[in-house]
């Protein structure tokens, strides 16, 4: 069981890390685009009733960095938030059938 949990956690971390690797230095325009993409992905997670607290925190961090004029940091945070939101969408979608694997029968 612990192995399964570790594997699942690893998949989610890798999903997040994969998107993070595409990071590049960001301008204000880059930030705005990244932030909009993250918000859209998080909205999709909301429709699936499966938002993560970490996505909201990372979006807030992105906004805070942008307000301070640090668009490199803001863009990086927004891209991280998008990766987190996409992972939550993936989780909600795959769990639509996978939950039955855990059921006591």
């Amino acid at each position: 069981m612990r192995n399964m949990m570790q594997k699942s956690a690893l998949v989610l971390v890798l999903l997040a890390a994969g998107a993070m690797s595409a990071l590049a230095a960001g301008s204000e325009e880059d930030f705005k685009a990244a932030y909009a993409a993250a918000e859209a992905a998080n909205k999709e997670a909301g429709k699936l009733r499966n938002q993560w607290t970490t996505t909201a925190n990372t979006l807030a961090a992105a906004k805070k960095a942008a307000d301070a004029g640090d668009f490199d940091k803001a863009t990086a945070s927004a891209r991280e938030a998008e990766a987190l939101a996409k992972a939550s969408v993936f989780q909600a979608t795959s769990e639509k059938t996978r939950w039955k694997d855990m059921e006591i029968r």
Partner: protein, 288 residues
């Protein structure tokens, strides 16, 4: 020749359809919603996993899993930490609303000894009604503002109502109504669905790992977990309702909690209560 080919094709199509239908049947049958079979399997799972625990002791959560904790809890029960909430709840329950009516007017048997029948499925509304929801509806019907589902007033009221039902066996009914079965099934789905960044479901802790530690806490078994609600938690330094327990569980696994008494929470309470049928009400409880 053409006719023969057509016959072959038609036969093949019929055979394929029959095969598809035949293979679909068993999985369709397996997926049939059968709450009684679920409850039986649920009970067997926990009694097999913990053969030394008396069935009625499962309602004592982590205390049923650990002898040292059990002894500490018995001593704590001499002066239970939920006592203040219980007294407050009793007083609130008896105090008339501005219109002169009381909570007793909203519930069967004057609200005494009925905790074991909640939540129930309301066939008029087509939804699950929890005790917390029924209490707030009672308030609103009598011109009073609703209480927060996660704060002390609601915990005190439900503590008193649970106390008057102590020892009564959980007795949740699923009426012969497809909407009730759907609510039950959705509750089950919620219970087993992984969510949050930690990728946990309710079952991850309370089916796969009861008795094990998560940080300093010993996890409670899912069976009978709702029978002890509401609870005084030392970690919270106060009382907590079922709504508070669900929303904080979600936050702990880094999932954004839904609003208290959203359909998902009502359904999962319905499911968990049904599979705990036959276990005594032990609320209000105290937990580390």
């Amino acid at each position: 020749m053409k006719l023969r080919s057509t016959i072959y094709l038609a036969s093949a199509a019929v055979a394929f359809a029959a095969l598809t239908f035949a293979t679909a049947l068993p999985s369709g049958a397996a997926d049939k919603v059968d709450p009684a079979a679920d409850a039986k399997a649920f009970r067997k799972f926990f009694t097999d996993k913990f053969p030394k625990v008396k069935f009625e002791d499962f309602v004592n959560g982590p205390y049923s899993m650990n002898e040292d904790l059990y002894r500490q809890w018995q001593e704590k029960e001499q002066f239970p930490p939920y006592e203040f909430a219980l007294e407050a709840g009793k007083e609130m329950f008896a105090t008339p609303f501005k219109n002169g009516k009381t909570y007793a007017d909203c519930f069967p048997n004057g609200g005494i000894g009925i905790r074991q029948n909640y939540p129930y499925f309301d066939e008029k509304e087509g939804k699950v009604i929890t005790l917390e929801l029924a209490l707030n509806r009672c308030r609103e019907a009598n011109g009073e503002p609703p209480y927060s589902y996660v704060r002390d007033e609601m915990a005190a009221l439900t503590a008193y109502m649970a106390f008057t039902s102590r020892g009564k066996l959980m007795d949740i009914k699923i009426p012969d109504d497809p909407r009730a079965l759907e609510a039950y099934e959705k509750g089950k789905e919620y219970f087993y669905t992984r969510r949050g960044q930690l990728n946990f479901s309710c079952a991850t802790c309370h089916v796969q790992s009861p008795g094990e530690r998560i940080r300093a806490e010993i996890l409670a078994p899912a069976i009978g977990i709702v029978n002890a609600m509401p609870i005084y938690r030392s970690e919270w330094s106060g009382m907590g309702t079922t709504s508070r327990r669900f929303t904080t569980c979600n936050s702990q696994i880094r999932a954004v909690p839904l609003s208290p008494q959203d359909d998902e929470y009502r359904n999962v309470e319905y499911y968990l209560s049904y599979v705990s049928n036959g276990l005594p009400i032990s609320g209000p409880g105290a937990r580390p």
